[in-house]
Symmetry: C2
Subunit: 312 residues, 2 copies
C-alpha cells in the first residue's frame, strides 16, 4: 500500500532558483494530503503531475507566507476546473478570514465547500481520521503559533491464509471472526487458532512533519518512533545563534531530534536561501544520525519501515 | 533610452505548464514598473534576472487572483532582502485591506513603507508622474472593476548641436535658452535660431495595457496612437460568445481595437488554458491588424516607434 511524500518545495522564506517555498503531498493508500502550500504550489503540482483535484485535505502549519500563500490560487483553480467535493483545511485560526476576504474582493463564488478546522493545540491532538490514517496536530515552537502534523497509518486487519480457509472449509462468518483476532471452532468441530490462520499485516507506518521550529525537545515524545520525520533545517550549525533568534533549527539539531525520537529516517528541508548547495546539511546531520535524506523539489520519498524503525 | 516590456506571465486564470498568471515589467529609462503580479511573479523576476528591488511602483489592474496573488510574496521577499525604500501600489480599492490582513496574521513588520493609491476611475486619469513618464489609469470592462494603464514617455528637451556651440562660442545660459525652444542672439552679436542649433528629440513613446476586458470601444480614444498596446485575447473568435459572457476578448477583437486606435504594435496575451498553442491567436489577429506580437514568458519587447506609429 502506497505511503510516500512528494516534495513540492523545500526552501525557506525567500524562494530561490533552486528551491520553492514549502509544500509537499503525502500519499497514503492513494489518498492525497497536502501539507503546507507556499506560493506556486499549484504550478508544482502540475509540474510533477499530481492530480490536485484528488486532494481533499490541506494542512497548513502556520501563517507565514512561505507556507500558505499558494492556497488561494489552488482553491481558485480547483473551482475553475470544476471541483464539487469538499476541501478540508486544517490550520491555525485566521486563515478562514483571509480566504474569505480574497473571495469577497474577487467576487468569487466557489462551486464547492471549504470546511475549516483549527489545528491549534498545546498537546498532541487528533484532528482528522479516515479509513487509512489518523492525523495529529502537534505544537512546535516558532515566532508565531506553528503546528506540526503526524500521519499514522492505521493497523490493517490480518489476512486469513487461503489454505486454512480451504482446509477447514471456513464460512465467511468464521473468517470474519478470525480477522478480529479470535480463535474459533469450525462447523466441522475443529479448533482453528488465530495464529495458525492469520498472516500478520505489515507494521503500520507513520510520518511526522516538523516545520518551522527551533530545537524543541518537547516534540520528541510526540513523534517518537515515527517511520519518517521531516524536520526543518534552515541553517547549518555554525549559525545556531541565528537559528535560535529566528526560531529555526540547524541540520545538527534536526538530527539530534531524530536520534532522540528514534525515528526511522530523517528528511531535511526548509533550507535558507543563503546556501547554494545542500550537501553540507546532509553531512552535518549524518554525524549525529544515520538515516538522512535531503528534500528536493520533485523528489518522491517512500515511507517504508527500515531496520532502524522501532518494532512497536 | 530604454523602453521595453518583459513578459513574466501571459496566461489566464488557471496557470499551465506553458503560461504563468499575468505579470510584466515595464522598463522606461531604466526605471522598473511592475504591471499586475500573479502568483509566482517573484520567481519569474528571479528567473529572468530582473532586479526586483529596483521596482518602486506596482500597478494592479483588478482583484482577480491571477493578477495580484503574487504581490504578498513579493512584498515579503523585498522586506527579507533588506528593502528600505517606499513601494507605491496602484490598484482598485480593497487591496490594502488584504495586504494588511496578511501582514497582521503573519506578524510581519515591514522595514519599508507601502504607499497605496487608488486606480479607480471612470475616465482616463493621471495617477503617477515622474521625470520620465506619466501613467494613466483607464477604465476597462470586466466582471469586476478593472483598470488598464497607459505609460506615456515624456517629451525630452532637444539637444543642442556641439558644432553650433563651438561656432558661436555659446555660454551655458545661452544653450539653456536654446533648449527651451527659443532663438537667441549670442554675446558675439550673432543670431542663432532654435532650428539651426537643435537636434529634434525622438518622438515620445507610449504603452497601453488592457487586461482584462471584453471588447470595449470606449477604450479606443484613451489609447489612441499608442506606440504599443497589450490587449488581452483570452479566446479565439469562435468562442466570442464565451468571451462576451466572461467579459474577455478574442484575438480578432483585440486586433480590431488595435486597428481602430491606430496603435503601432499589438501584443496579445492572457491566453486561456484551454489552448495548447498560441499561433492561432497571431494568425487570427493578423487578418485584421498588421503588427502583432505574441506575449510569452521571458520575452522582452522593445517599445520603438515604427512606420505605423502615428506622427504625433
Amino acid at each position: 500500500m502506497t505511503f510516500e511524500i512528494t516534495i513540492l518545495g523545500c526552501g525557506a522564506a525567500t524562494p530561490t532558483s533552486r528551491h520553492n517555498p514549502t509544500s509537499q503531498v503525502v500519499n497514503i493508500h492513494d489518498k492525497l494530503y497536502l501539507v503546507d502550500c507556499g506560493e506556486a504550489t499549484q504550478m508544482q503540482l502540475r509540474k510533477y503531475k499530481v492530480r490536485f483535484q484528488k486532494i481533499n485535505h490541506v494542512f497548513i502549519s502556520h501563517l507565514h507566507g512561505d507556507h500558505y500563500l499558494g492556497l488561494m490560487g489552488l482553491i481558485s483553480s480547483m473551482n475553475l476546473l470544476g471541483r464539487k467535493s469538499i476541501l478540508h483545511i486544517f490550520s491555525p485560526n485566521g486563515l478562514k478570514e483571509l480566504i474569505e476576504l480574497n473571495l469577497r474582493l474577487s467576487h468569487t463564488f466557489l462551486e464547492y465547500t471549504l470546511e475549516y478546522h483549527s489545528s491549534e493545540t498545546d498537546t498532541k491532538m487528533l484532528i482528522m481520521e479516515d479509513r487509512s490514517v489518523k492525523v495529529y496536530s502537534i505544537p512546535l515552537k516558532h515566532r508565531i503559533d506553528c503546528f506540526g502534523f503526524v500521519f499514522e497509518e492505521k493497523i490493517r486487519p490480518p489476512k486469513i491464509r487461503k489454505e486454512v480457509i480451504s482446509k477447514y472449509k471456513l464460512q465467511p462468518s468464521e473468517v470474519l471472526e478470525l480477522k478480529k483476532g479470535n480463535s474459533i471452532v469450525s462447523k466441522g468441530g475443529e479448533s482453528v487458532s488465530f495464529s495458525e490462520a492469520s498472516i500478520a499485516p505489515p507494521l503500520p507506518r507513520s510520518y511526522a512533519y516538523c516545520s518551522d521550529t527551533c530545537y524543541y525537545e518537547k516534540v520528541i515524545d510526540m513523534i517518537a518512533g515515527s517511520t519518517m520525520l521531516y524536520h526543518e533545517s534552515t541553517f547549518l550549525d555554525d549559525m545556531k545563534e541565528r537559528a535560535k533568534s529566528t526560531f529555526h533549527s540547524t541540520a545538527r539539531q534536526a538530527a539530534e531530534i531524530a536520534a532522540k525520537a528514534n525515528v526511522g529516517t530523517l528528511i531535511l528541508g526548509h533550507f535558507s536561501s543563503r546556501y547554494h548547495e545542500d550537501d553540507s546539511f546532509l553531512a552535518e546531520a549524518a554525524e549525529v544520525f544515520g538515516n538522512v535524506i535531503l528534500a528536493d523539489e520533485g523528489k518522491i520519498i517512500q515511507v517504508a519501515n527500515t531496520e532502524n524503525a522501532p518494532d512497536t
